[in-house]
Symmetry: C2
Subunit: 300 residues, 2 copies
């Protein structure tokens, strides 16, 4: 009997659950809206239970919205911690799955898992390190793989909350972040765009000035991340991040912002291969969760 | 015969050379001003040569001002690259030392070496990872150790050139960075302070408003680095960085800036142990270079 692995992308709006052994070996997949934790976690358990009972399922990985507790020594390891999302604050997601399935459960942020998945499954990314994954959508999150491992450290990266220059004359919008107002997420997330322009990002036409401003904010943030982390590749995902034409403007904005200071042909000549869309499309998170499960199984 | 190691802190204004096997085992040490590369490198070689000839010296580490080429596969590995410092651009520092001393020569940025030294030699830092070292002086540099290794990636961290919010009404000073104007280094380095206030940082009295502004800029940058890298400890060094009273204001500025978002007792309750002065004092760089030499020797 061959082994398979489980992946859960536990998002704030939907859960994606997958059984398989990689991008080319998906055995089963479901997605459902994120509702009350009891109901939502039960749905995920019910999906995996047959594979667990048959003995095929070796481990499950979880790519969770956050903030989360990744400290293995903490009594709240594997919890979603202080999310403002109703009913999901302090939910013991990983421990519940472990108890229900009696399997090893790997656990990380959605964006760390996506970064790990893009490095693990994409041949040409294997040697690129650090690799960072930024999602721009309902929120802005950044995952980092450094020396082949998802970066945790004190908590985990929260680069959506970096402070960036904000020219209030050009853009008087005060930002939507309840903690920081005009941090990156406050200025450039989907909800920030919707509130600034009075219509949702999806309905803003491609030639609307919103997109130029959006590209500039993302470029400022990526230039800062290049200065801080010196990544060898940046993957830009998320609903807003994948808006047609945005990526090109982000790339030229990064070049403008760095202004020749970081001496690398990847930035000067080859930026289209340096800042890239997700090779795994919308599956970076859930396939990253499967990669985390495989990695955990191998470490036991 | 016992083995010793060499360390060189190759700074833009002075070289520090040391022979020993750690903070408690310094055998010899000299310092001299950074002059023409030929003369300066010869002085360093002359200092180490007797220990090399006797067979005691096992390896030398170099902590260099930059930018530097750390790519082992590059034909200019070990070079100081595009520094504006007269005569030092494209200088083959590591290859020259290797040829002159016929020894393994480890090579990294001054700040990566300082971060590595603080983690390697300071007992309580050993398990703190990532650990970052920021120097604020003539320039602003940031070194990062992640998973026990100095972070290189694309080039090496250059977080002195991050863009930070700049309230031009409060501080109309345009910044001194030739590449970015008002990036962090442009606003908060020693030369920026000197030009903004018309006197050198050392001569500015402790109650001058310069120091409040300085603490705010450094706090903004550290809050961004906390969001990007999630460090478990931050070491703040450099001539400006160690100005009496500055560190306290930086700590409270970081707490204000993060505003409760990063949930960690290190930030809420214990920030005095989270953002700290260098445990190795002014020797983080040169002792870090010795640690790099030991590490290289062990890897061969």
């Amino acid at each position: 009997m061959s082994q398979v692995f489980g992946g859960i992308e536990a998002g704030g709006t939907k859960f994606v659950c997958m059984v398989g052994d990689g991008p080319e070996g998906v055995v089963n997949e479901i997605r459902f809206p994120t509702a009350h934790p009891d109901k939502t976690i039960k749905k995920a358990v019910d999906f995996f239970q047959p594979y667990a009972r048959s003995g095929e399922l070796a481990a499950v990985g979880v790519a969770a919205f956050g903030p989360v507790d990744l400290n293995l020594a903490s009594p709240t390891y594997g919890f979603i911690t202080t999310t403002p999302k109703p009913e999901w604050s302090q939910v013991d997601l990983q421990p519940r799955l472990r108890r229900a399935l009696s399997l090893p459960i790997a656990f990380d942020t959605d964006v760390n898992a996506a970064a790990f998945g893009e490095q693990y499954w994409v041949e040409e990314n294997r040697s690129l390190d650090p690799l960072i994954y930024m999602t721009v959508g309902t929120g802005i999150g950044v995952g980092v793989v450094a020396n082949g491992r998802p970066l945790h450290g004190l908590v985990h990266p929260e680069a959506g909350h970096m402070a960036i220059p904000h020219d209030k004359q050009r853009d008087p919008f005060p930002g939507v972040c309840p903690y920081h107002g005009d941090c990156l997420e406050g200025l450039a997330s989907g909800p920030a765009m919707a509130q600034r322009w009075g219509q949702s990002a999806e309905t803003l036409p491609g030639d609307h000035p919103a997109w130029e401003l959006e590209a500039e904010y993302i470029a400022l943030a990526l230039a800062n991340l290049i200065c801080a982390l010196s990544p060898q590749r940046i993957v830009l995902g998320g609903g807003v991040g994948q808006h047609p034409g945005l990526l090109e403007n982000v790339r030229s904005g990064v070049q403008r912002q760095l202004n020749g200071y970081i001496h690398s042909a990847w930035i000067f000549e080859n930026i289209a291969a340096y800042i890239v869309p997700p090779a795994l499309g919308s599956r970076s998170g859930v396939l990253g969760a499967i990669a985390l499960a495989i990695d955990l199984r191998q470490s036991i």
